[in-house]
Symmetry: C2
Subunit: 283 residues, 2 copies
C-alpha cells in the first residue's frame, strides 16, 4: 500500500529543486513519499535487489562499448550522513562497478590547478556508478563563506560547473546531485554523540564547531549554489536528512529511477554462441 | 560446534603455500576447515559484522596518521570466481574504505612502462583495503604461457615482485595473495552456463576457450609463480574454488585474520573532548 503510493510519484520529481531555492522552507525532518520507517525499510530492501541488477547491466554495457555512466554527487553539512548513505545505498551493489571518492580539503598540488582538475580525475569510467562524497561544490561553498574569492570569480565558477556538467551529460554520464538537508539541532545531537563515544572521536573535528558557527552563511552559500547550478541536465535534489532511514531511501530511489530511465538491456553477444559452445565442448 | 572447529586452526595457516607448489595435489572441490554450506554461511554472516568494524578501525587510524593498509590480490583462471568473492566479501564493508581495481590486458601506455608502473598507481591509500582482481602476477603468468619474454626476464620479474611486495610490507601494507584454484571440469560447466544465459553472454569471451586450451601451461605458470613469490612477508594462499560458498568464506577468513592480527584500536582524540563539548553546547 505504502509501497504503491511511494512509487506513484517519482522521487526525483518530488525532491528536485529549481529556480530560487529557499532551504528554510524545506523541513529537514519531513519524510515526503513514505509513511514511516517500516515502510521505508520494505521499499529499500526490494529496491536493493533490483538496483544491483541494473548496476550489472550498466557495467555489462560498458564492456560492449557503451559510454554510459552515472555520477552521484553528495553534499551536506558535517554529520549530514553522506558516509552512511553511501554505505547503505552502495553496499549491496557490486564493488567493482562503484567508484567512490571523498574529496578532502584541497592539497597544495590541487590548489595549484583549476578547481575542476582534481574532480576530472575521479570521474566514473564507462559502466561505473561514481559517488562523490563532497565534490566541486566545495569550491563554491567554502570560498563564498570565507570570502576567499571575489563574487565575479564565484559567478564564473557556477558557469564553469554548469558547462562541465553539461559536457559530462553529453558524454553519457547521468549526473545526480543531492544535498542532504540537515537541521541545525540535529547536527548538534550528532556532534555530541561523536564526543560521547570514544569509538566516534575520530569522526569529530574541532573545525566542525567552527563551521557550525557559520551555519547561516553556509545555508546561504548552499541556496545560491543550488539556485545557480540546478539545471535541466543536472538538477539538484534536496533530501531532508534528520532521519537517516529517510535520506538513505530517498537517495536510493533517485538513483534507481535514473538507472531505470536508461532502459538498459543486456548487451548482445559479439560472437557466435553456438560456435563457441561447440569449441568449448571439444575441450 | 563447526564454528569452533573452524576457528581452532587459522585459515591462513591452513591454506598458505610455501616451497615448491604442486597444484595437482590440491583438491579444487575440497572445503578444508568447514563442514558444509550451512556451517559456512553461519560463520560468514558473523564475520561480516566483525570485519566491518575492523575495517572502520583501519580507516579511522589513517585519519590520525597511521600508514596501515591491506592489499588483497586475487588471481585465478577465467570463471574462478574473483568477482563473486569481491562482491560477497567486500559488499558488507564500507565502500569508502575499499579501493577495488580490475586489471585488464595492458594498454599501449601501460606496456610502454615497467610492468609494476600501473600496479603502483592502484595501491591502497592508508586506511584502505585494496582489492586487485588480477594483478602484477598476470605479467609473469601470460608471458610465460605465451613465451613473450625470456626465462631470464621472467626470473628477474619474480625477484622484482618480491622486492616490490617487501617494500609495501615495510611501508605498512599487509599483502594477502590468493589463488582461486578451480577445477578444469568446473570451468567448463561455468563457461557453458555463460553461453546458456543471454544475461551472462557479456561475461563470455572466445579468448576464454583459447586460454582453456592452454590449461596445463597456465597451471604450470601458476605453480612456478607461487613457488617463486610465496614469501614470509607476502605468502600465497591456494583456495579450492569449485564451491563458490567455500572460496568466499576462505577469503573472508584470511582477510579477517589479517585485520585481527593488526590489533587495531580506536585512535585517541587529538583534541580536548570536554573543551569541545563546551564549545558545542554554546552554539
Amino acid at each position: 500500500m505504502t509501497k504503491h503510493s511511494t512509487h506513484s510519484t517519482g522521487w526525483s520529481d518530488r525532491l528536485r529543486v529549481s529556480g530560487p531555492v529557499d532551504l528554510s522552507a524545506i523541513d529537514t525532518s519531513a519524510t515526503p513519499g513514505v509513511l514511516d520507517k517500516d515502510a521505508a525499510e520494505d521499499v529499500f530492501g526490494g529496491t536493493s535487489r533490483s538496483l544491483s541488477k541494473l548496476q550489472e547491466r550498466l557495467f555489462a554495457g560498458s564492456l560492449s562499448g557503451s559510454e554510459r555512466s552515472v555520477l552521484l554527487v553528495l553534499q551536506g553539512m558535517d554529520t549530514a550522513g553522506k558516509g552512511g548513505v553511501v554505505k547503505r545505498v552502495a553496499g549491496p551493489m557490486d564493488p567493482q562497478g562503484i567508484s567512490h571518492h571523498a574529496f578532502k580539503k584541497p592539497t597544495e598540488e590541487e590548489r595549484a590547478h583549476p578547481f575542476l582538475w582534481r574532480v576530472e580525475k575521479e570521474l566514473p569510467a564507462p559502466g561505473h556508478i561514481g559517488i562523490f562524497d563532497r565534490s566541486h561544490y566545495e569550491d563554491v561553498l567554502v570560498p563564498r563563506v570565507h570570502e576567499l574569492i571575489t563574487s565575479e570569480e564565484l559567478t564564473a565558477r557556477y558557469a564553469e560547473i554548469n558547462e562541465f556538467e553539461r559536457r559530462l551529460v553529453s558524454n553519457g554520464t547521468t549526473v545526480l546531485k543531492v544535498m542532504l538537508h540537515l537541521g541545525r539541532d540535529e547536527q548538534k545531537n550528532r556532534l555530541l554523540r561523536r564526543l560521547d563515544r570514544s569509538d566516534k572521536h575520530w569522526k569529530f573535528n574541532p573545525g566542525d564547531v567552527d563551521d557550525r558557527g557559520l551555519w547561516p552563511l553556509f545555508q546561504d552559500a548552499y541556496e545560491v549554489a543550488l539556485t545557480e547550478t540546478s539545471t535541466e541536465h543536472a538538477p539538484w535534489h534536496v533530501v531532508p536528512a534528520d532521519k537517516k532511514w529517510y535520506s538513505a531511501l530517498a537517495v536510493q530511489q533517485i538513483l534507481d529511477e535514473a538507472l531505470q530511465a536508461l532502459d538498459l538491456g543486456w548487451p548482445a553477444a559479439d560472437y557466435d554462441v553456438e560456435e563457441q559452445r561447440k569449441r568449448l565442448l571439444a575441450t
